[in-house]
């Protein structure tokens, strides 16, 4: 029954939440950034001058991974793993942290990929009309709104949990 004890440990559950945030948001961003990179590489073979513009587009869907890490850090700060002594957490508190990590984990994963698709299509805009980069960026940024909202949701929840 040692295993069950570990599984119901508050610290473990909170850490699991932090891990989810990093894993899924990071996975999504990695896939998305890779996707844009592939398309961008195709354009840069023909037009090496467009490197910096396409790099900008490639960077956009990378933020979800950062948001995931950020949420994880806030959780780690709260439960005292970083910069303090680990707090005693009840199972319920642990589950609360786990739940708080879900918005950025799930929305981060999906929105990164969706944003990657928009940014990859934006590379097409840059290919034909390099002066319209701002519009390509705006299209991709529209998607990011939802990652930001999810981040905000996660962070407010994490801040709000009473220890």
């Amino acid at each position: 029954m040692k295993l069950l004890e570990v599984l119901l440990n508050g610290q473990f559950l909170a850490l699991l939440g932090a891990a989810f945030a990093v894993i899924f948001a990071g996975l999504g961003s990695a896939r998305a950034v890779g996707m844009v990179g592939e398309v961008a590489a195709g354009l840069v073979t023909e037009e090496p001058d467009r490197f910096s513009q396409t790099l900008l587009l490639q960077a956009l869907p990378g933020t979800q991974g950062i948001y995931g890490l950020l949420t994880a850090f806030v959780i780690l700060f709260r439960i005292g793993i970083i910069g303090g002594t680990p707090a005693e957490l009840s199972t319920v508190q642990g589950v609360l942290f786990l739940v708080a990590s879900l918005p950025i984990a799930i929305v981060g994963y999906k929105s990164a990929i969706a944003q990657g698709k928009a940014a990859a299509a934006g590379v097409g805009i840059v290919a034909k009309r390099p002066q319209e980069l701002a519009k390509a960026i705006t299209f991709a940024a529209m998607v990011e709104t939802y990652a930001i909202l999810a981040l905000l949701g996660s962070i407010l929840m994490v801040f709000g949990i009473k220890i």
Partner: protein, 659 residues
């Protein structure tokens, strides 16, 4: 804060003077030449004039420019001269410019040489590769010390060949000894796949021997077109490779020498670009048999200069200057004060206002300033941002879009500094972390990480103000155009309704006031929003339906929560960087790790957050702000002038004009 008014210009002149007049116009550099193709659809014009076609010439010029550009790009790879990170345009004397243009052929020769260089270099490299692989294929036979052309003597035949590595050599030996005694063979070399044989036998036994060998998988190897021993041949090829390498080196060296010509080629490039612009302008005129006509626009601010310059003209031509007709679209030039100017780039990237619309920049600018700073919100980052962009502006002396963008970053840095100080972020919490909590820089206002809800509220309030401003602009525009009622109905009543709702949410005594305000506002909106409909029932349903826009307004306001989220992101990442940096404590390794984490981490954080802040501030302007009133779609004012990439031609006339 406005769109500069334009004067319409029409020039009619003699076909013979056309080239000179166009060149003069280019030097004056303030006329925007309009496209006359629409005139060609006008019946009263079609019979009289035709378009000046010179597409072939332009095509030729374009392909010339491509060639010059290719040679410049090629030289770039070999140029050892260190280029400054911030390269600015060189100033070239008009006399030097002239001398280079006069030596056209010489420069074309150089360009040809450079463009052929690549091909020559590749050819040589290929040849070298071929020889190298040849040597590799010969090297197993190295110890064969009879000349390869010797395939038989008076009494013997000599074969060279290979058998698979797995072949049974002992069996072969035994069989040969038994059946063809007048033979012998030797394995010269072997590798993983095969054994290399040389076989000698009596002439009369050749066929028998070959039959036996075949059973063991023997393949004859014949050295065609070769004489001498293998070793000699290898040496010969090696010597050839050396020669080729020498050639390659001398070619590379000659390319590097040609890099000195690069400046001349750059001037040449600019010359061709200017020439192409000129020819393209010619294509925008209409002509009859002996005359031509040209139409364009000159901004009000430049009209005096234009008049004065053209008054000196000696040609027989007629210049007509008039005001634009009511509602006529003209090219857009924005004029704002120095503080607002950098923000124009945000609007330019979206779409320029059309004629008769309000230039939104001066209203947008303060919001952009505030929002950008809020999203980055670190005093240290702000100082760095401003510093770097100030240096870039000073060193690069950029023009156009880049200049505005850098100035925008400079201002954004200041805003970031202010917000950082308000929120207590100085490279995150580096001071607290390094001193172990002994010294703490107190925020001037409050620390959002401790009270995020408070900042969320403020973000939404700022968002509401931003949206109110957008509706205000819409009302102002309506009033300016004489539709005062529209302004009152579509903006004033919404103000009442929405403010009422906001107060209601706030609760307390104000909440009751808000309740009545919201009700009155709603009634007023129901009564007025359907006024465009004729049917009374439709008027009513449309009025009620319009209240649904309040939901849209709410979601717009919530969109401003990104101000908090991105601001928090910067702060948290910064403190994470500091935590990692101070992890190893105060010792030599710890300090090294701290310095590395501090510089690497914070630079990364600044880059990613400044990009994010720029993108999302722009988004708030484009979607939430512009969405309320802005139409855009104006064509930019692009004066016909000398437009160079590498050089500024130092012309006396130009100098006077600048001062």
């Amino acid at each position: 804060m406005s769109i500069v008014k334009m004067h319409k210009i029409a020039i009619i002149g003699m076909e013979n003077d056309k080239d000179e007049i166009i060149e003069q116009l280019m030097n004056i550099g303030v006329l925007h030449i309009s496209d006359v193709s629409s005139k060609m659809q006008d019946e009263s014009w079609t019979g009289l004039v035709s378009k000046d076609e010179n597409e072939e010439e332009i095509f030729q010029l374009s392909s010339d420019i491509e060639k010059i550009k290719a040679s410049l790009d090629y030289l770039k790879q070999y140029d050892k001269q260190k280029k400054a990170l911030f390269a600015s345009k060189r100033t070239v004397d008009a006399s030097k410019f002239k001398s280079i243009i006069e030596n056209k052929n010489k420069i074309w020769e150089t360009i040809e040489v450079i463009n052929n260089m690549d091909e020559n270099l590749n050819k040589l490299k290929q040849e070298k590769n071929k020889l190298e692989s040849y040597i590799i294929s010969l090297s197993p036979w190295k110890s064969l010390d009879i000349p390869v052309q010797l395939t038989n003597t008076k009494a013997t035949s000599i074969f060279t060949g290979i058998i698979p590595a797995s072949a049974d050599v002992n069996g072969l030996k035994a069989q040969l000894e038994a059946e063809v005694q007048e033979s012998c063979f030797q394995i010269i070399a072997e590798d993983r796949d095969q054994k290399y044989l040389v076989v000698i036998c009596h002439r009369s036994k050749t066929d028998e021997l070959l039959n036996i060998l075949k059973n063991y998988g023997f393949n004859k190897v014949v050295f065609n077109d070769m004489t001498g021993t293998i070793e000699q041949n290898i040496q010969k090829h090696k010597a050839e490779i050396l020669k080729i390498e020498e050639k390659i080196n001398s070619l590379v060296k000659s390319i590097e020498d040609l890099c000195k010509k690069r400046e001349d080629i750059e001037i040449f490039y600019d010359y061709f670009v200017v020439e192409k612009d000129r020819k393209e302008a010619l294509g925008r005129l209409l002509k009859t048999e002996h005359t031509f006509v040209l139409e364009g626009w000159v901004p009000e601010t430049e009209i005096e200069y234009f008049k004065e310059s053209t008054s000196k003209w000696q040609w027989d031509c007629y210049i007509h200057i008039s005001e634009p007709e009511e509602g006529e679209e003209y090219p857009i030039l924005l004029k704002n004060n120095k503080l607002v100017q950098p923000f124009e780039v945000v609007t330019e990237m979206y779409s320029l206002p059309h004629t008769g619309e309000i230039d939104p920049n001066s209203i947008m600018a303060p919001f952009f300033f505030v929002f950008f700073g809020m999203m980055v919100s670190d005093a240290g980052y702000g100082i760095l941002l401003s510093l770097v962009s100030a240096i870039a502006i000073y060193k690069l002396k950029p023009k156009g879009m880049l200049e505005k963008l850098l100035k925008l970053l400079f201002l954004g840095g200041i805003s970031t500094f202010i917000w950082g100080a308000l929120f207590g972020g100085w490279f995150g919490d580096v001071v607290t972390q390094v001193t172990g909590g002994k010294i703490e820089i107190k925020p001037l206002w409050f620390n959002p990480m401790e009270d995020p809800m408070r900042l969320l509220l403020w973000s939404l309030i700022l968002g509401g103000i931003h949206l109110y401003a957008a509706m205000g602009v819409k009302a102002y525009d309506a009033i300016k155009k004489g539709r005062i009622w529209d302004a009152i109905f579509d903006t004033g009543f919404w103000y009442i309704f929405l403010t009422g709702l906001a107060l209601l949410l706030a609760g307390g005594k104000l909440g009751t006031v808000g309740k009545y305000m919201a009700i009155i506002g709603a009634i007023l909106l129901i009564l007025t929003q359907g006024r465009a409909e004729k049917n009374v029932i439709k008027k009513f349903t449309k009025g009620v339906g319009s209240l649904y826009n309040a939901v849209g307004f709410m979601s717009d306001v919530l969109s401003y929560s990104r101000l908090l989220a991105l601001g928090l992101a910067t702060g948290v990442i910064a403190s994470v960087i500091n935590t990692i940096g101070t992890l190893l404590g105060f010792n030599i390794i710890g300090i090294i790790v701290f310095v590395a984490a501090f510089f690497g981490g914070h630079v990364f954080n600044i880059l990613i957050n400044a990009l994010g802040a720029f993108v999302h501030t722009s988004r708030l302007q484009y979607v939430e702000f512009f969405g309320k009133f802005y139409e855009g779609g104006g064509k930019p004012y692009t004066p016909f002038k000398i437009n160079t990439k590498y050089i500024n031609i130092n012309n006396k006339e130009n100098e006077e004009r600048k001062s």
